[in-house]
């Protein structure tokens, strides 16, 4: 008996199998991407426990131990597992401390951008009218600013510091939130429960706070997780160009910048390891963000 179709009429698949005895939440955990979560948890732990984990002081170097390769190479030493840089500083310790800086800066920037963007998005979408027009035009114009160049400009204008970096990154990346959240709010406005609240005479602020906000939380969180990776790369880029985190602080991007000159002379470990760290973190953030996006929107689970 022929059991295969001659061809496919469309790609719609049946929705997910009905869950077994396990509760829905538990099943979700079972499907959760363990590896990215693990990486991110490790990141947080490393960042928090940097002082205890790092074998050496990241900013003080031993000038007699410069440019040592990782332990498994010829001249390597077990004291400096991943080698040393041009000032004799331990690469591993710098990576560990660098995780703290990257994590703190990226998280703060994403939060700040999220708060600004979400607030503007809600305001613009809910109030409509000229407020909406003004905010939208402003957002459009702001989005026209070339992100990295603008960040560089700001970094050049402000004194180099981590807090400034957070502000700069937030200033560059809030626009995406505003756009998306506004769209969500616009569609939410048409829903009955909002209309009921308006008719019942709730104040606008109350509606925005208690009715709209929880419903857009999902989108906001998804955006935040997806932005996290972008911001980490942005911070690394700025540091790489010399306008981000300032030496002697150990930021991964900065390490790449300092390692660049050693590239041609074969000091590969200075360029590989920081990049791998960046890649792992961003990969984890992206995978997690993707998974979260699918998890929070049942419609997307089919494909």
């Amino acid at each position: 008996m022929d059991s295969s179709p001659a061809s496919v009429i469309d790609s719609v698949v049946l929705s997910a199998d009905r869950p077994s005895r396990w509760s829905g939440l538990l099943r979700s955990f079972y499907e959760a991407p363990f590896v990215p979560l693990l990486i991110l948890v490790l990141l947080v732990l490393t960042a928090v426990g940097a002082d205890w984990l790092a074998p050496h002081d990241p900013t003080i170097g031993n000038l007699r131990a410069r440019y040592l390769p990782p332990v498994w190479e010829e001249r390597g030493s077990s004291e400096y597992l991943l080698g040393t840089d041009h000032m004799g500083r331990d690469v591993l310790s710098r990576l560990i401390h660098g995780s703290r800086i990257s994590l703190v800066v990226a998280t703060a920037a994403v939060l700040l951008a999220g708060v600004i963007g979400t607030t503007l998005g809600i305001l613009s979408g809910f109030r409509g009218g000229w407020i909406d027009q003004v905010v939208m035009r402003l957002t459009d114009a702001w989005m026209a600013l070339p992100t990295i160049s603008f960040a560089i400009l700001l970094a050049a204008l402000l004194r180099p510091s981590e807090w400034n970096l957070v502000v700069i990154l937030a200033a560059v990346y809030w626009t995406r939130y505003a756009r998306v959240i506004r769209g969500e709010v616009l569609s939410l406005k048409e829903r009955d429960f909002v209309r009921l609240a308006i008719v019942a005479g709730c104040s606008r602020t109350r509606i925005m706070g208690t009715h709209i906000l929880p419903n857009i939380a999902n989108s906001a969180i998804v955006m935040a997780t997806l932005q996290f990776g972008v911001v980490i790369i942005a911070e690394a880029t700025l540091s790489f160009l010399g306008v981000g985190v300032a030496p002697p602080q150990p930021a991964w991007g900065l390490m790449l910048f300092e390692g660049k000159s050693g590239l041609m002379t074969g000091f590969w470990w200075l360029s590989i390891f920081p990049g791998v760290c960046i890649m792992l973190v961003v990969l984890a953030a992206n995978l997690l963000g993707d998974w979260f996006r699918v998890w929070s929107d049942p419609q997307l689970r089919q494909l």
């Binding site: 061809s7 400009l153 204008l157 990776g229 790449l256």
Partner: protein
Amino acid sequence: MQRYIVRRVFYALISLVLLSITIFCLIRFTGDPAVLMVEPGASEADLQAIRQEFGLDKPWVVQYGVFMVNMARGDFGMSIYYREPAFELYLQRLPASLLLAAVAMSISLLIGIPIGILSAVRVNSWLDTIGKTFSILGLSLPSFWVGLLLIMIFSVSWGWLPSSGSGTFWHILMPAFSLGWVFSAAYTRMARSAMLDVLGSEYIKLARLKGLPEKLVIAKHAFKNAVIPVLTLAGINLVIMMNVAVVVESVFAWPGIGRLLYEGISNRDFPVVQTTVLMGGMMIVVINLLVDILYAYVDPRIRYGQ
């Protein structure tokens, strides 16, 4: 269609004005620009002289007016380092960046679209998994690191390609690839999801019902519809690419506007920095406008009005 175009032009103009105001305000409000234009440690008299020379002691509105008028005339100030008009420097470097962006864009589309489409056509197969992996990886690697890796492999280890400078075909290969890498990941994603959407549509159903061979269904009906959003994205991304190229240009010492910006920062050459950012923003607005207009011609739904 006329109304559509007029509206788009209007919005573009507003964007440009807001852009200039933003840059202007940022510069004026984050400290004394005069300080940025002199060597550190200059005396107060020097600063005063600079202020007078550049009209920085006049009221802001006037300064803005002067600023805009000068911009209209193409006068963006004089580069401190090169002692040439910043605008001319910019124009000199622009073609190199355009070339790099064009090549990078081609590479990214040539890689991204086929992988994305193939992923969608063979959805949930191992081919799809490869495609999805490719796109995630692409978005997770910073372009400058890709550049560094390429240099390590192709310049240092194998000695095949030159690691910096420009001039021959070989020089452009690695920078273009590094630059295009991230974008190809984005196009893969977009192509895949656009293709999946199209494959689920009614007109594809009808095409199959007509008895058209599957290859024709995909290549003619599905492809054209799916590629539109990707190309739109690509058009908009062209300018973004040029601006993001700062890092790649720095890594490979490619003489474009990105490198100009970088030099401006290193040399504390403020007019150059300002010019680059302003021009960058303006180009984004203009290109977006052009893409919108082009779209109006390509998509018959807009062309014949709705």
